[in-house]
């Protein structure tokens, strides 16, 4: 295989790869970056590519070889100078950062520079984030710090001002479809996955177990009832939806699905030709879009967003969903 085609990231984010290639070859790399974008858009992949590119002993045409000892170490996640910090549990704690700082004070084992990648940086606790400040402003040695996040807006403004923020364009659905097919998931789900954002891992795990379609069916039923202005929809929350979403990640996922569906309905009312995120349930969505007055569609989407914000604030799922249902239904009168 030739070097240019070897790395999927060069196809996914060609412009960003070019940019970093130029930075590295000109030796203009800053010391701290924030990669902001979904996992699917290649944030961690680019971080890995940067590591490979910096450490590879056999760079060819600006691309790392993937064969040398350095590359192999990075690819297997064992390079002593390329450290990844990942959340332990729900957050990244001060202790993790303390360890990181001690590591930073040391010089590289095999390389002059050391790379630290902090995944899901939005999960840094306030204490951890603050203790990172001084180090990402003026790190003690030659280091490259890459923060990776899907929710940039949750980071401290003091962190954002110290790093160079790289916004990743979302991955095209076609790329995701190909990826899904590789993993044995129905490619029809690709458009949905491209919009799901942070819930993708949950959805993917479900899809692999063929457990995603019951969720989608329940959503379909619920929307269809709402489309008929049928108060049965309220009952469906208890009878159809609740048994499926017993755990927290599932509830978040279901809300994400609902919001995307409502967005589709809203968009379909104005641009009927717009591609839907639910190819398999297109008929229902189109029907609902025609049955609802435009005000309802706007209200439904806005209220669903507000409800999701409350879900993050630990309000019970069922209450929120029933409230949403009631709000939508009473908007018809």
């Amino acid at each position: 295989m030739t070097a240019e085609t070897a790395w999927p990231i060069t196809q996914l984010q060609p412009r960003l790869v070019n940019r970093f290639e130029r930075l590295i070859s000109r030796d203009q790399l800053a010391h701290a970056y924030l990669f902001s974008g979904t996992q699917e858009s290649g944030t961690t992949a680019l971080a890995q590519w940067v590591g490979l590119r910096l450490f590879c002993s056999n760079v060819h045409n600006g691309q790392p070889c993937g064969q040398c000892a350095q590359c192999k170490q990075i690819l297997s996640g064992n390079h002593p100078d390329f450290l990844k910090i990942q959340p332990t549990g729900a957050t990244i704690k001060v202790d993790d950062i303390r360890d990181l700082r001690q590591e930073m004070a040391r010089t590289g084992l095999e390389q002059a520079k050391r790379i630290f990648e902090i995944d899901q940086a939005d999960l840094l606790t306030p204490g951890a984030a603050n203790s990172l400040l001084k180090f990402i402003e003026e790190p003690p040695g030659p280091v490259l710090i890459i923060l990776v996040t899907e929710q940039k807006q949750r980071l401290l403004s003091t962190i954002l001002s110290r790093v160079q923020v790289i916004d990743f364009p979302p991955a095209p659905a076609a790329n995701i479809a190909a990826q899904l097919t590789d993993e044995g998931v129905a490619p029809e789900l690709a458009p949905l996955f491209s919009a799901l954002g942070a819930s993708v891992p949950t959805a993917r795990a479900l899809a692999e177990d063929q457990a995603l379609s019951p969720l989608l069916d329940a959503l379909d039923q619920w929307l269809a009832a709402l489309g008929r202005h049928d108060w049965q929809a309220f009952i469906l929350v208890q009878t159809q939806i609740m048994p499926l979403v017993k755990e927290r990640p599932l509830q978040t996922l279901f809300f994400d699905l609902t919001i995307i569906a409502l967005q589709d309905i809203l968009v379909a009312q104005y641009t009927p030709a717009a591609p839907s995120h639910f190819p398999q349930h297109q008929a229902t969505l189109t029907a609902v879009a025609s049955q609802w007055p435009p005000t309802t569609a706007t209200l439904a989407a806005a209220q669903a967003l507000a409800a999701q914000a409350r879900l993050q604030g630990n309000v019970a799922f069922q209450g929120l969903f029933e409230r949403l249902t009631a709000q939508i239904l009473s908007s018809f009168s």
Binding site: L23, N130, S131, T158, S161, D167, F168, Q263, L305, A309
Partner: protein, 674 residues
Amino acid sequence: MAYQALYRVWRPQRFADLVGQETITQTLKNALITDQISHAYLFTGPRGTGKTSAAKILAKAVNCRFRKDGEPCNQCDTCKAITAGSLGDVIEIDAASNNGVDEIRDIRDKAKYPPTVADYKVYIIDEVHMLSTGAFNALLKTLEEPPAHVIFILATTEIQKVPATIISRTQRFDFKRIASETIVDRMQYILKDMKITYDDAALELIANAAAGGMRDALSILDQVLSYGDDHVTLANALSVTGSLSGDTLTKYLQAVDQGDTAQGLTIVQQELAVGKDPNQFIVNLLVFLRDLLLYRQDPHLARSFYATQDPDTFARLVKEINDTKIYRMIDVLTAVQDQLRQTTHPDVYLDVLTVKLATLDTTVVATQPANPAGAQAAPAAPALTHTIKSLEQQVAALQQQVQQGSGAAPAPTPAQRPAPAAPAAVKTKVRVNLEEINAVLGTATRQSLEAIRGLWDELLSMLSVSQRAVLHVGAEPVAASPDAVVVSFDYPLMFERAAKDQVMRQQVEADLAKLANHAIAVYFVPKEQWPRIRQDYLAAHPIGKKRRRSAPPASAAAAPTSADATDSAAEETPPVISDSDAAAMSDAGGTASPGKRPPDSQSAVAADSQTATEDAAASPEEAAPAPTGADLVAKAKALFGDFVEVDSGQPQTEHEHKQDDPQNNPTDGVNANG
């Protein structure tokens, strides 16, 4: 390290370089020139405004021997060592990672040793808001009176987390956000020094996106430069900041303005697909709209590149969209801006926003041009009048109910009131047994009431939690005879619950019996009915006559129950007797008394009682039919605060007053005051 971020390379090394904070730098320089350096400073302000830089410059300036006009020389060994961070006497502490008491103790211990090289030991404690409470407190004493050779400089972005005791021990400097123009100037200076050309609009865009933080601006500039080409282009700046071009914004606003939702949604989706930042989308729109407004006032006011880049299109847009709509758009945008911070679905927010903005159009345009003033008022008016009408009807109905209710309550009393409506009205609620209560009132004494009140708290503590809950809120004994007590309830609901709960009543009676050593019956009344019950009772049983007929001790007991009851009887005028409590009543009495009090010093009273007629013309109250009585009442008030203390043990004056017909007192009072 081969490459350093711009904000590190260009970190200010002199006060003069610290742009945008001229007040602060001048103050610090003056302090240095006049040798009036404080021992503790607190620098606060948003990110990237120069707090840490100012702290480092100050550390250099105090230690530099070749200081000129308050600026460090940056040439001597001390300055260079401090810049490099290698001088042992300038200690920069990251409070976020050294936030414990132990670290602060360490500072405290070491602070007492004199500096080794420099004149002053300077502790720069950055991110000081992260110190733990214990650490802050451990710092207090040292911060207040450090050794002469020590200077503390605290820096933080979050002043609200710093205790007031720390703030009060320091000289506090608030760093302001840096104005866009100042940021642009600074970037121009840097770029000129680096010999890099630039588009003016690009710098302005960067300065806007930086939102007052110089470090943010230089970070962005760094990225734009990394796109290469030794020229800062607008296109690169747009791409790095995730901003929208003026062209796109114009198209979007036109689409939304004309209600073309489909077009608006398409633009949003296109822009998001190429990785534009939803937050920036809103910020750009806001700036754009602001410029539209400013342009209308004076084309020169709109300075952003949106206005200057393509002035013709901009001018056309200014004419197309009306002010009212711009204001409403700004409202909608700011609301969404807040929500956007929390969500994982910014794209949906933007879609909803687009639809809202586009439909905003139809509502405003439909009503406005046709009839700007009347259109909005007209549809509102019928609805309003309707509401008012229905409210009026409700009020009328309620008044009627109240009247019926007032007729109902006293109906069973001996007072011969016609009470046909009474049973119906009372049936709905729990019935108040007026006969029993009147019986209690007949034998009520102040003493008994005080006794019961004294036992009340103890009684409550004996009850079970749920019973106590009923009696705890707004329930109090209002009248008591030696073997019975009347308890009033502030809330009708509580009254109903208590009245229905026979078990509780028995429990209360049993407990009371234990406490008082004899059986006491308990009756409940709702507070709203209580004044009326009392009043009706008094009307039906004229106290004065009754008392005159009865034997003296009995008459003492018969005096209407509690102080407030007598009080109300005395000041008979019905409207005064609302359901206000005894305190209010005695207040009312109190206000009456001062009018009479001045002449009523001890000797005056004596004189009055002896030679009333002599002084008849002197003051109106003495001219009144019962001068002595009125004065004695006033005296009693002055002595006891309360209107009547009805008790056999009272001094003679009290008896006199008591035997005075209460009905006459008010007339006296009125005369006295009038």
